[in-house]
């Protein structure tokens, strides 16, 4: 069995250590005996919608986000939409999450259109949300670190990934954090997110493998270290955010 991971814009959309998510997906597959290939795709490079089982799309600086937004307005955005229709999964963080929504509305400049895979809209906010972020969901807690000024609001097509326990999440108002729509997830959790939240990593792996290998069962891993890191980080989020 093999797994194909596409890392979107690793040169432009990789600040705050988001590449740890790719490392986590790859290692957790390899530890189960699954072969893994990771392909980076950047601006102007054709993203083949048939190839990836799962895409990772991280956060970037404003400069990177402008260039990437322009690239996604063309055929690469269409490739992403096609991939999702064909059963591909996406995990996105921060800037990547925002660009998967309908649009990003700055304070003064005209809005930047997104790919529209997630039914969310983001507006610029004045105060930046910086701090630890602890989230509850029916499937387990999630912990990470948020650093964004965009305020993201969910439409009816997207479900929140979880409810904020500590921190701000999507917009600091409605207690939601992140979005899930089909096999597409967006969130504001840096940290990196997936190493410390292995249940989410395994969900993405299951979704990804399901595209070409039906009825795959993931063997359980010893996640004691992951659990310990999550406990320590959650404690910090509760007491020092």
């Amino acid at each position: 069995m093999d797994l194909r991971i596409a890392h979107l814009y690793p040169d432009l959309m990789n600040i705050y250590g988001d590449r740890g998510n790719v490392i986590a997906l790859a290692q957790r597959a390899k530890w189960r005996g699954i072969e893994v290939e990771v392909r980076p795709y950047s601006v102007g490079e054709w993203a083949d919608p048939e190839w990836p089982d799962v895409w990772f799309f991280g956060g970037g600086q404003d400069q990177g986000q402008d260039i990437v937004g322009a690239d996604l307005a063309g055929k690469n955005g269409a490739a992403l939409r096609k991939s999702v229709e064909g059963g591909g999964a996406i995990f996105s963080v921060c800037g990547g999450y925002q660009l998967l929504g309908h649009e990003y509305v700055p304070e003064v400049d005209p809005s930047i259109p997104g790919v529209g895979i997630l039914d969310v809209t983001t507006r610029a906010g004045k105060r930046r949300f910086v701090g630890n972020l602890l989230v509850d969901s029916p499937d387990g807690q999630l912990v990470g670190f948020e650093n964004h000024s965009g305020r993201t609001y969910l439409g009816p097509g997207a479900k929140a990934l979880g409810t904020v326990i500590a921190g701000n999440g999507n917009n600091g108002e409605d207690k939601t954090e992140g979005a899930v729509q089909g096999k597409v997830i967006g969130c504001y959790l840096h940290g990196s997110c997936l190493p410390k939240n292995p249940w989410l990593a395994d969900r993405l792996l299951a979704w990804a493998l399901d595209r070409r290998h039906k009825d795959t069962k993931l063997d359980p891993l010893d996640d004691a270290d992951e659990a310990a890191a999550r406990v320590q980080a959650s404690e910090v989020a509760r007491t020092r955010t």
């Binding site: 600040i15 705050y16 250590g17 590449r19 404003d62 400069q63 840096h190 940290g191 320590q232």
Partner: protein
């Protein structure tokens, strides 16, 4: 003489300092905060009294080492620097250093101000200090919970430098496109330093790059040589922007386990000298080049500068060696991916299979966001690690990073408490052996405090 308000602020700061030191504390920041609260222009007022003016050293990595090198050079030339030596590098640290070396009546106890300045504080600090020289070593991603994005930071620094009078000389790293570009809006003297040894660096760009785009036209940059992250021999094929000519250049660097040998060349005059830098690592060779370029900007003699560098001793956590229970602890401060990669590069250059004591914390001075460890190249380090004892307020995140980099379970263990972690790491190393201590700022302070208590190290504010 400083004005009455500055004198009052000075006195209040000095009283605070005496109070703190009487209780055995370092007093590297709070007295400065007190003085600045009373007189916001305190650092400008006091530094205006200094005969040889002020030099500021900033940048993401290397500022403490570069500033200390420059302090040694100025001292060798007979100057008497007032220096915020302990790395307390916000306005308050500068103020604390100034008032510690100013008499109650306002007489300065030195004739040259040498201030390491936090890069986020640089824009406001240079406005107040009006320095003769501003050195910028490099700009990498660092503590983004505090500095936010690098492009924004570079723009703020560029704006502040553009507003300085022509009497200020900039000393900039030509090999860092973000730093080199800080000079574009100035019509004044700039001294560039860089590395021109074709054997230093590779051709493949490294995974963690902050500035792959041209700072002028935003097109992708082309690299003939990559030294570290986005530092190297860069050019923009689109708009033609290139690495500026180096006024102070290393044409050859020989790296060794205890230091480097640099063949130094310059475009001004016909200077060809051999420089010995007695601390290992390519990044310390860069720091030495920055200090030499700053010395030139201050019209200090090259012979004295080279002599001072040869006798240089490292600062807090910058490859200091500490003897403890028959083992040598080598202290390496790590705080961001580029610094981490440079440090482990220096460590592995010499073929070591290190025993580690690794400590990650997330206090303000460490950076509250520990995400950066996932950008650091633990994958390059893990195969060489003999054993790692892991600790710190976020030691569990660090352990996870080692695990995902492929370090085997039996080669690492987490020990939550500082002194237990030191004991364990020391005990595991053979008698006469070495333990490499990789730690973030407050974790290093905590570990050093334990070592000092055991009689091994000097408290950092006294060195």
């Amino acid at each position: 003489m400083p004005d009455a308000l500055a004198l009052i602020a000075n006195a209040a700061g000095k009283l605070t300092r005496e109070g703190l030191r009487a209780t055995g504390r370092g007093a590297t920041a709070l007295p400065g905060l007190v003085a600045l609260t009373l007189d916001p222009n305190f650092i400008g007022a006091l530094s205006a009294e200094l005969e040889y003016g002020v030099a500021c050293v900033s940048g993401t990595n290397g500022k403490t080492t570069t500033a200390r090198m420059l302090a040694d050079i100025s001292r060798t030339a007979g100057w008497n620097p007032i220096h915020n030596r302990s790395g307390s590098n916000l306005d308050r640290g500068v103020a604390a250093a100034l008032l510690a070396h100013t008499s109650w009546s306002g007489e300065p106890g030195g004739n040259f101000g040498l201030f390491e300045i936090d890069e986020a504080s640089l824009p406001s600090a240079v406005g107040k200090l009006e320095p003769r020289v501003v050195v910028v070593t490099n700009l990498f991603r660092d503590q983004m919970d505090r500095y936010f994005e690098l492009d924004t930071l570079a723009k703020k620094i560029g704006d502040a430098l553009a507003a300085l009078p022509a009497t200020t000389t900039l000393v900039l790293n030509a090999d860092d496109p973000l730093v080199a570009n800080l000079a574009v809006r100035r019509d004044a003297k700039t001294i560039f330093f860089g590395v021109d040894d074709p054997d230093v660096g590779g051709v493949v760009p490294q995974a963690i790059s902050d500035a792959t785009r041209c700072p002028r036209c935003k097109s992708p940059l082309k690299y003939a040589r990559v030294v570290l992250a986005h530092v190297g021999d860069w050019s923009c094929p689109s708009c033609g922007l290139t690495r500026p000519p180096r006024d102070v250049s290393a044409t050859k660097i020989l790296l060794g386990p205890d230091g480097s040998e640099i063949a130094l060349a310059g475009t001004v005059g016909s200077i060809f000298e051999s420089v010995r830098v007695p601390i290992p690592g390519l990044y310390n060779a860069y720091n030495a080049l920055a200090a030499l370029a700053a010395a030139r900007a201050l019209d200090l003699g090259l012979a004295e500068a080279i002599r001072a560098l040869a006798n240089f001793r490292p600062a807090f956590g910058r490859l200091e060696k500490i003897e403890h229970k028959g083992r040598t602890l080598r202290l390496v401060l790590v705080k961001n991916p580029a610094g981490f990669n440079a440090a482990i590069g220096a460590l592995l250059e010499t073929g070591r299979t290190p025993r580690l004591l690794a400590a990650l914390s997330d206090r303000d001075a460490d950076g509250r966001d520990v995400s950066w460890i996932w950008d650091a190249d633990f994958e390059a380090l893990a195969p060489s690690v003999e054993h790692a004892v892991i600790t710190g307020l976020r030691g569990r995140d660090l352990a996870l990073r080692f695990k995902y980099a492929g370090l085997a379970k039996e080669r690492m263990e987490v020990v939550d408490e500082w002194s237990a972690a030191i004991d364990r790491a020391t005990m595991l190393a053979p008698e006469g052996g070495e333990v490499v201590v990789l730690a973030t700022y407050t974790a290093m302070q905590a570990l050093r405090a334990v070592l000092a208590h055991a009689g091994a190290a000097v408290p950092f504010w006294e060195d």
